[in-house]
Amino acid sequence: MAKPTPLPILRGNLEVLVLKALTAGPLHGYAITDWLEHQAHGNLELVDSALYQALYRLESRRLVKPVWGVTEKNRRARFYHITDAGRAELRAEAARWTRYAATIGDILALPVPATGSANG
C-alpha cells in the first residue's frame, strides 16, 4: 500500500505537540523531533527548523525553559523543560482541541438524510 502524503501541521498546533513531548521530562531539540516523527508514524509533515521556531516562541512565552546540559555522547545541548505555565497551556489547548475535533467529527458523522425518490 502506498504511503499517504504527510499532512502539514496547522498553525499553532506544533507548539502544543512540543509541549506534549516535554511532559515526560526534559528533551533537547533533536530528541523532540525524533519523538514526534515516531509518534506521527509519518502522517505529519515535520520541518526541523519550524520545530526550533516553535521552541523559541514557547520560550519567549515562558512556557518552556531551556537549560544547557550534556548528552550521553558528551555533547553540549539545550535541554528544554516544560514550566507550570506550559503545563497549564497544554491542558487548556488539549481540551480545546478535543472539543473542536469532537464537534467536527459529530457533524461529519451525521447520516445522510433520505431523499424523496430513489434514482433510476
Binding site: 531539540g29 533533536y30 526541523d48 527548523s49 526550533y52 521556531q53 523559541y56 516562541r57 545541548a77
Partner: protein
C-alpha cells in the same frame, strides 16, 4: 563560562544578559548539534556519511532561509524575555516597598501624612488660582478672540456707553469685529418661592451667538424677542439656577418666573458653568433677559434704543486676522466722533481692548494677588514637608545600612539600589497623593463656603485638572524625598564600615548630622517666615475691620421697594414705603426705623454745591456732593455719629420748613478750614446751585467709608437734608432698620414685608455688613491660609527637630553614659543638648528674620496699615520658635539623661 550560569544568578550579579552576537553563536550551536544527531541516526541506519549530511540538511529546512529565520526568532525571544525580567524586578521592588511600609507603620504614616499635607495645600491653592486666574470663561467658543473695552488705566465700567453710541460703533466696526452689548441690573426674582435679589444681564440680540455658546436646554433669544413692542417676556436662566431651583427638571422650559411682578417665560438654559464674560470673582449670573425688556423692568430710560444714558457695556469678537490694536483705534475714533456732536463731550476719550481670558488681564484683583502669593507659599510648605519626609527616609536608610552593604557586596548595582529607593519614595508619595485628594477636597470645601464665598466655583470640589496637578506634584515630591537620601547614601557609601559597624562610622555620621541639621534649620526658617506672614495678615485684617465705616455694620439693614414700582412713581408709592417702615418696626428685635433717599449702597443723587463767599473753583465745590434726604431718626438708626451740632428734629422735617443741612466732617474742613461750619450756609441743587436757597448747617456728621481700603481717596462729600426737602425721589428711597443683629433681621424684615395681608413689592433687603464682606475677602483669605500654612510648617518643624534630636541622642548613647559615669547631672545633659538646639534655632531665626525683612517689599502692597517689617511680630515669632525648638530637643535629652551609664557604655 558565562552562558553556563543560570539566568537567575546572572541577574543578581547584574552581569548583563546576552549580547546580540551571542544569539548567533547559540543558534548555530543548536543547529549544529541537531544536524550531528540526525547524521548519527541516519548513519546508524546504513546511510553513507555524505548522503546522511545531505539528507540531514534537507530535513532541516530550506538552506537559505532556515538559519536567518531562527536567528530572528531567537533575537525576538531574548528581547521579550529581557522585558519580562525588568518587569519582574520592578514588581519585586514594589512588593518589597509595600512590605516595608506595613512593617513600619509609624514611619510610613509620618511620611505619607507629611507629603499629603504638603500636596493637599498645593492642590487647594492650585484649584483656587486655576479658577480665578487661569481658566477661560466656560462655554465661550474661542475665548481668545473675545474682548471687552475699558479706558486706559480703568476697569470695564469705564466703557459704559449709550445705545446710540453702541450702534454707531457696531456699524462702523462691522468689518473687523462682531459687537454685542450687555447691561447689569439688580432685580427681584420670584420662582414661586421666596423672592430674592438677583443680578440680571440684559443682553443684545447677538450676544449668545457672538459668544458661540449652545444652550443646554431650550433656546436662546431670537430676533422676534427684540422687535416685539416692549420686548418679549422671555428669560434665559443659568444651569446652576436650573439645578438649584428647578431640580434639573427638563420641563422648566415654558415655566414662568416673576421678575419685579412681570411674568416672564423661561425659554432656555445656558450650559454648565457658563457665566458670560464675567470674571468668577463677581459671582454667578443666573438670569439673561433681552435688552428690549430693559425699560419695563428697570428704572432706566423708557426707550433704550434712543436714549443717551450710558448703561451698556460692549463685548467684541475680533474677526480672524484682525489686529486688536486696529479694533481699539477704530473704536476710539468712533467714540471721539460721537463726543464731538455732544456739548461738553469728552473728545479725549480712548478705548483699549481687554481680553476676557483671566490669564491675560492687565492687573490682578486683591484676591488674585493674595491667591498668587499663597500659591508660592504653599510650594514652600511642600518643600518643608518633603524635607521632613526626606529626613525620615534618611534616618531609615541609616538604620538599614548593614542590609544595604550586604546587598552591594553581593553585586547589586548602585543603579538597582537607586531604583529601589525611588520606587520606595514613589509608593509613599503616591499614597500621600491619594490622601492629598481628601485634603484638597476639604480645603476646597472650606474655600467655597467660607473664604471665597460669592465667587463662582465651577465643577466639583476636586476636578480633573486638580487631580492631574496632584499626580504631578506627587512625582515631584517623590523625587525630593528620595533625592537626598539617595545621593548621600550612595555617594559616600563605604561597605567596609557599614558591615563592620561601630564607631568607625564617625566620618559618615558627622556628614549626615550636618546635613540633617541643615534640613531642620531651613525648615525652621521657612516656618518662621510663614508665621510672620500669617501674623502680618491677621493684623491687616484687624485694621481693616477697625476702619470707621461711619455706619453701624452689625445692626443695620436696608430695605428698598422694587425699581419698577418706584420708577412708576405711582401715588401710592409713599404709602407703600410707610407700610414697609411700619412692618419693619414691628419685627421683634428692631429698635429703630428710619427712611432716607440716597443712603449708602442705594441709588444716590449727585448735586452741585455753592457757598456764598467762596470761590466756585475750589476743589470741594467742583467735585459736587452726594445728596442724602433723611428722616429725623436716621443718624441714630444707621449709626452715623453727629460730631458737632445736632440731627434734624421731627418738626423741622417739613417741605415748607427752613432749609437745613448737615454736612460731613471732611467737607466742613475743606470749605471752612479755620472756623466752625455750624451756622454757615450752603446751597445745593441739580444745576446752578448758586441760585438755590442757602441751607443753614446745623450739624457735622462723621465721614463715611464705603470703600474700606481707599483711605487716601478724598472722601465723598455728603450733604444731609430733611427728608421732605429732598426732592421726593422714590427710586433712591430706602427704609433703614436697626436691630439686634443684622443677619437675623434681614430674614424677618423680608418675611414681614412679604406677609401680613398683602405682599409688598420689595426690591432688595440686605445688611450693610454683607455689602462690605467682599472687601474683607482678600484679607480673610490671607490671614486664614497663611495661618494654616504657618501652623502646619510650625508643627512639621517641631516634629523634625524632635526626631533629629532623638536620633542625635541615640547616637551619643555611649558618650552620655561616659558623662553620667563621670558625674554629669541631668541638668548638665539637658543644657548640653539644649545649647545645641538653641544655637541651631538662633541660626534659623536669624535667617528667617533676614529673609522676611528682605522680602518685605513684596508683601507690603497686600497689607493694610501694617508694616511688613514689624519688629514686634518678628520678635514674637523668633521667641516662640526658639522655645519650641529647645523644648522639642529637651524631651529626648531627658530620656538620654536617664540611661544606665554602664549599659550605655557597653551598647553599640
Amino acid at each position: 563560562m558565562a552562558d553556563e550560569t543560570p539566568r537567575r544568578f546572572r541577574r543578581l550579579f547584574h552581569l548583563g544578559l546576552r549580547r546580540p552576537n551571542r544569539v548567533d553563536a547559540e543558534v548555530d550551536d543548536e543547529i549544529a548539534f541537531h544536524l550531528q544527531e540526525r547524521v548519527d541516526a541516519l548513519v546508524a541506519r546504513g546511510w553513507s556519511e555524505t548522503d546522511a549530511v545531505a539528507e540531514a540538511h534537507r530535513l532541516f529546512g530550506d538552506a537559505k532561509t532556515a538559519r536567518p529565520t531562527l536567528i530572528a526568532e531567537a533575537t525576538l525571544r531574548d528581547r521579550r524575555l529581557d522585558w519580562f525580567e525588568r518587569l519582574d524586578s520592578i514588581v519585586a521592588d514594589l512588593k518589597l516597598a509595600a512590605r516595608q511600609l506595613r512593617h513600619a507603620p509609624a514611619f510610613s504614616l509620618g511620611v505619607i501624612l507629611a507629603i499629603a499635607l504638603g500636596i493637599g495645600a498645593n492642590a487647594t491653592m492650585f484649584s483656587i488660582i486655576d479658577r480665578l486666574m487661569l481658566r477661560p470663561p466656560a462655554g465661550v467658543a474661542m475665548p481668545e478672540r473675545v474682548y471687552t473695552f475699558a479706558r486706559p488705566g480703568r476697569d470695564r465700567t469705564s466703557s459704559a456707553m449709550s445705545f446710540v453710541a453702541f450702534s454707531a460703533m457696531r456699524d462702523d466696526l462691522a468689518g473687523v469685529a462682531n459687537l454685542s452689548a450687555e447691561s447689569f441690573f439688580p432685580l427681584t426674582v420670584d420662582f414661586g418661592g421666596e423672592p430674592r435679589s438677583e443680578h440680571a444681564l440684559f443682553v443684545d440680540s447677538n450676544y449668545f451667538g457672538l459668544l458661540g455658546t449652545t444652550p443646554a436646554l431650550g433656546r436662546y433669544f431670537v430676533a422676534d424677542d427684540f422687535t416685539a413692542p416692549g420686548g418679549a417676556p422671555v428669560a434665559v436662566i443659568s444651569y446652576g439656577l436650573w439645578q438649584q431651583e428647578f431640580g434639573g427638571d427638563r420641563g422648566v422650559i415654558g415655566r414662568a418666573l416673576n421678575v419685579d411682578d412681570q411674568r416672564l417665560l423661561i425659554v432656555g438654559v445656558t450650559p454648565r458653568d457658563f457665566n458670560g464674560v464675567e470674571p468668577v470673582e463677581l459671582g454667578a449670573f443666573d438670569i439673561w433677559l433681552p435688552i428690549a425688556l430693559g425699560s419695563k423692568l428697570t428704572d432706566g430710560p423708557a426707550n433704550w434704543q434712543t436714549s443717551r444714558v450710558r448703561n451698556l457695556f460692549p463685548v467684541a469678537r475680533v474677526k480672524p486676522g484682525v489686529a486688536t490694536s486696529l479694533l481699539a483705534e477704530r473704536a476710539t475714533a468712533v467714540q471721539r466722533a460721537l463726543e464731538r456732536t455732544v456739548p461738553n463731550g469728552d473728545t479725549t476719550i480712548a478705548f483699549e481692548l481687554r481680553s476676557i481670558l483671566p490669564s491675560r488681564a492687565p492687573t490682578l484683583s486683591p484676591t488674585e494677588r493674595i491667591a498668587s502669593m499663597l500659591g508660592a507659599v504653599s510650594l514652600f510648605v511642600l518643600v518643608i514637608a518633603c524635607f521632613n519626609a526626606a529626613n525620615l527616609m534618611l534616618a531609615r536608610a541609616v538604620r538599614r545600612e548593614r542590609e544595604i552593604a550586604i546587598r552591594v557586596a553581593l553585586g547589586v548595582s548602585r543603579r538597582r539600589l537607586l531604583r529601589q529607593l525611588m520606587l520606595d519614595s514613589l509608593l509613599l508619595s503616591m499614597l500621600g497623593g491619594l490622601v492629598a485628594i481628601a485634603v484638597a477636597a476639604v480645603g476646597a470645601f472650606v474655600m467655597r463656603g467660607v473664604l471665597l464665598q460669592g465667587v463662582l466655583w465651577s465643577g466639583t470640589l476636586v476636578d480633573a485638572r486638580t487631580l492631574g496637578f496632584i499626580v504631578a506634584t506627587a512625582f515631584v515630591a517623590s523625587l525630593l524625598t528620595c533625592a537626598f537620601p539617595a545621593l548621600l547614601l550612595l555617594r559616600r557609601f563605604d561597605i567596609q564600615h557599614a558591615l563592620v559597624g561601630g564607631s568607625s562610622r564617625q566620618a559618615g555620621r558627622s556628614h549626615r548630622t550636618r546635613f540633617v541639621s541643615l534640613l531642620v534649620v531651613s525648615q525652621g526658617a521657612l516656618s518662621a517666615v510663614l508665621l510672620i506672614g500669617a501674623l502680618l495678615f491677621v493684623r491687616s485684617l484687624e485694621k481693616v475691620r477697625g476702619v470707621p465705616v461711619g455706619m453701624d455694620l452689625e445692626h443695620t439693614t436696608i430695605a428698598t421697594l422694587s425699581a419698577r414700582v418706584t420708577r412708576a412713581n405711582a401715588p401710592n408709592t409713599d404709602a407703600l414705603f410707610t407700610e414697609l417702615a411700619a412692618r419693619a418696626s414691628r419685627v421683634p428685635g428692631v429698635t429703630s426705623v428710619a427712611t432716607a433717599e440716597g443712603a449708602s449702597f442705594t441709588v444716590f443723587q449727585v448735586r452741585q454745591i455753592a457757598v456764598p463767599g467762596l470761590s466756585p473753583s475750589l476743589d470741594a465745590i467742583q467735585n459736587g456732593t452726594v445728596l442724602r434726604a433723611v428722616s429725623p431718626n436716621y443718624f441714630e438708626t444707621i449709626g452715623t455719629p453727629i460730631l458737632r451740632g445736632r440731627p434734624f428734629s421731627a418738626d423741622e422735617d417739613r417741605v415748607d420748613g427752613e432749609p437745613l443741612a448737615i454736612i460731613n466732617a471732611s467737607l466742613a474742613d475743606m470749605l471752612w478750614p479755620n472756623s466752625d461750619a455750624i451756622g454757615k450756609c450752603i446751597q445745593v441743587a441739580p444745576r446752578e446751585a448758586a441760585k438755590a436757597p442757602c441751607r443753614r448747617i446745623v450739624g457735622i456728621a462723621t465721614d463715611l467709608h464705603e470703600q474700606l481700603t481707599n483711605l487716601d481717596r478724598r472722601e465723598t462729600a455728603s450733604i444731609y437734608v430733611p427728608l421732605s426737602q429732598g426732592g421726593h425721589i422714590a427710586t433712591s428711597r430706602a427704609v433703614i432698620v436697626r436691630g439686634d443683629a443684622s443677619s437675623a433681621i434681614v430674614q424677618h424684615v423680608r418675611a414681614a414685608a412679604l406677609g401680613g395681608g398683602f405682599a409688598l413689592p420689595i426690591g432688595d433687603v440686605f445688611s450693610i455688613e454683607s455689602k462690605l464682606a467682599p472687601q474683607l475677602r482678600p484679607w480673610k483669605l490671607g490671614a486664614t491660609m497663611f495661618g494654616i500654612f504657618g501652623a502646619l510648617a510650625f508643627v512639621l518643624t517641631a516634629l523634625g527637630t524632635y526626631s533629629m534630636f532623638t536620633y542625635n541622642v541615640a547616637q551619643r548613647t555611649q558618650e552620655m553614659g561616659v558623662r553620667i559615669a563621670l558625674g554629669a547631672r541631668t541638668l548638665d545633659i539637658l543644657s548640653l543638648i539644649g545649647r545645641r538646639s538653641a544655637a541651631l534655632s538662633l541660626i534659623g531665626v536669624l535667617v528667617a528674620v533676614l529673609s522676611a525683612a528682605s522680602f518685605a517689599r513684596f508683601i507690603q502692597p497686600l497689607l493694610f496699615q501694617t508694616s511688613a517689617r514689624s519688629w514686634p511680630i518678628y520678635a514674637l515669632v523668633a521667641v516662640a520658635m526658639t522655645l519650641v525648638a529647645i523644648g522639642a530637643s529637651l524631651i529626648p535629652a531627658w530620656r538620654g539623661a536617664r540611661v544606665d551609664p554602664l549599659m550605655a557604655i557597653r551598647s553599640e
